[in-house]
């Protein structure tokens, strides 16, 4: 089952700074949506609003008709929204395997008492979790490095691991914050396949923040453009590429390579 996210007139004010103003857009089940804008436009802030890290000053955020503000971040993850971070936030002391395993905590049927008594039910569940994680790592070709420290992975693999970890929460909506940042052209190419693949295989909606236009234009069905927290355009990649407002916003800043 997929789910839809609806933002209506969302505003957040940090002191005198209106980081996001009157923003409305919708993500339908299974859609792959891009969210772009110049540096400091408010993209990450939108992610933080959706995941409950920030609370909107005004407006509403609804996920399947359930109001998001007022829920804690871990509750929102349980509702089916998972994310990655612009600056990689893996658990540095853990192995690749354990990073993914952390996402399994919320799916456990048995909690603290089973961890303490360690009966057959506990061992069964641990075995099941292990299999699930290894299968997931297998799909993304990280199974061979399952038990190495996550810090020893290459930068691109760390980014992929963050996506896998988010997927392990079994989301219906996945938020990716600049997943291509710091990747080389081949890795970017692979990433585009990966995102499409995830959307299709896991049947989830994806909201993608990305500065690399080739990636965004290549895979998104619809793109929302914001500048200074305000939506300046929304449409298909073609429409966005030819939108004078968007061109102006982007000509103001230096070309977004990297």
């Amino acid at each position: 089952m997929s789910a839809s996210l609806q933002l209506d007139n969302v505003t957040i004010q940090f002191g005198g700074l209106r980081a996001v103003g009157d923003l409305s857009f919708r993500i339908n089940p299974g859609e792959l949506i891009g969210l772009i804008g110049p540096n400091g436009a408010g993209k990450t802030t939108v992610f933080n609003l959706i995941t409950g890290v920030y609370h909107p000053t005004a407006g509403s955020i609804k996920f399947n008709d359930l109001s998001i503000p007022g829920h804690k971040p871990h509750q929102i993850t349980r509702l089916g929204i998972a994310r990655t971070f612009q600056n990689i936030r893996l658990f540095p002391s853990m192995s690749v395997f354990d990073n993914v395993r952390t996402a399994m905590v919320m799916h456990q049927l048995h909690g603290i008492t089973h961890a303490l008594t360690r009966g057959p039910a506990y061992h069964d569940e641990e075995a099941l979790i292990e299999k699930e994680i290894l299968d997931l790592l297998d799909i993304f070709k990280l199974r061979d490095v399952a038990h190495v420290p996550c810090k020893s992975l290459s930068y691109g693999d760390q980014r992929r691991l963050e996506i896998i970890r988010a997927l392990a929460t079994k989301p219906k909506l996945l938020l990716l914050d600049e997943p291509a940042a710091g990747m080389n052209p081949t890795e970017k190419e692979e990433l585009m396949h990966l995102i499409r693949f995830i959307r299709d295989k896991f049947d989830i909606a994806v909201l993608l923040v990305e500065h690399d236009m080739k990636v965004v234009m290549g895979i998104c069905q619809r793109i929302v453009v914001i500048e200074y927290g305000i939506k300046i355009a929304e449409g298909t990649p073609d429409e966005i590429q030819n939108n004078p407002k968007v061109i102006e916003a982007y000509l103001g800043v230096e070309a977004e390579e990297s």
Binding site: K72, H74, T77, S93, R101, A103, R118
Partner: protein, 319 residues
Amino acid sequence: MNYKSQIALVAALAISLGVSLVSGSIDDYFLDILLNAGINIILAVSLNLVNGHTGQFSLGHAAFMGVGAYGASIVTLEMGGSLMRIFGSGAFGTGILFLIALLVGGLCAAICGWAVGVPSLRLRGDYLAIVTLGFNEIIRVVLQNTSGDGPFGGALGLKGIEQYTNFFWVFGIAAIAIYVISALVNSTYGRGFLAVRDDEIAGESMGVNTVRYKVIAFVTGAFFAGLAGGLYAHLRSTISPEGFNFLKSVDVVVMVILGGMGSTVGVIVAAIVLTVLNETLRDFEQYRMIVFSLLLIVMMIVRPQGLLPESMFQRRKKA
């Protein structure tokens, strides 16, 4: 078989009981150091859950120990007679009495842990350290200012506590503490503690209820510190508020840091080493804190991961 950890626990309990039965033939001085080491192991392993595995910097462990010591002592002093009339005054009766006393002490400490933890665990790092340090001092000052004839005995504390503590109680409870904390941490459930330590925001975004994990760590740590306090009181037979001051908390923190935050084996070794060191430095009491401070500074610079090599404990998993 899948029951390795339970078997290890039962074996440890049986060995503790066995040694306890022949402990009469152990040299008194040596036995005293052993029991002290055991109590310190309980303190260090339980604080390690909070400071090591969960990454919260608590500086108030001695306060929980003190609460447990007073709670347990008051039970044996005030209610010992009536409880023994029910259960008899033989080995069985005193065993039950002591168990009840220890549990009361542990539960009082756990309740304090909860009461301090819930409001203050929203604070991070240094702030939590200051709040727990403050709590430590509050407990000490409150105890000191109770009436000298009251159940808490004022600044002089409590005297004439029966010496129920023996090898079995100390190392049995140490074994249980080690089992409980290892079982908690070394499970999928336990990834939550490490996630809190590594990155709270990422942890929350993985669905980990970070506040609940912190409270569980804090309350569990306080409970075992309370048990350690009860054992300490019934070993020394006198306790006073000064024995549970902030310096005692620092002692335990030093054990956790020397042992390598989050390494159970390392922390056990550190608890033993520091107990022995404390004993040998007894004549140089006034320099002890200087030595400890220097030790800490050197550790932080040279081996922040603890004394023992990490590879010793890396659990090898089948790939």
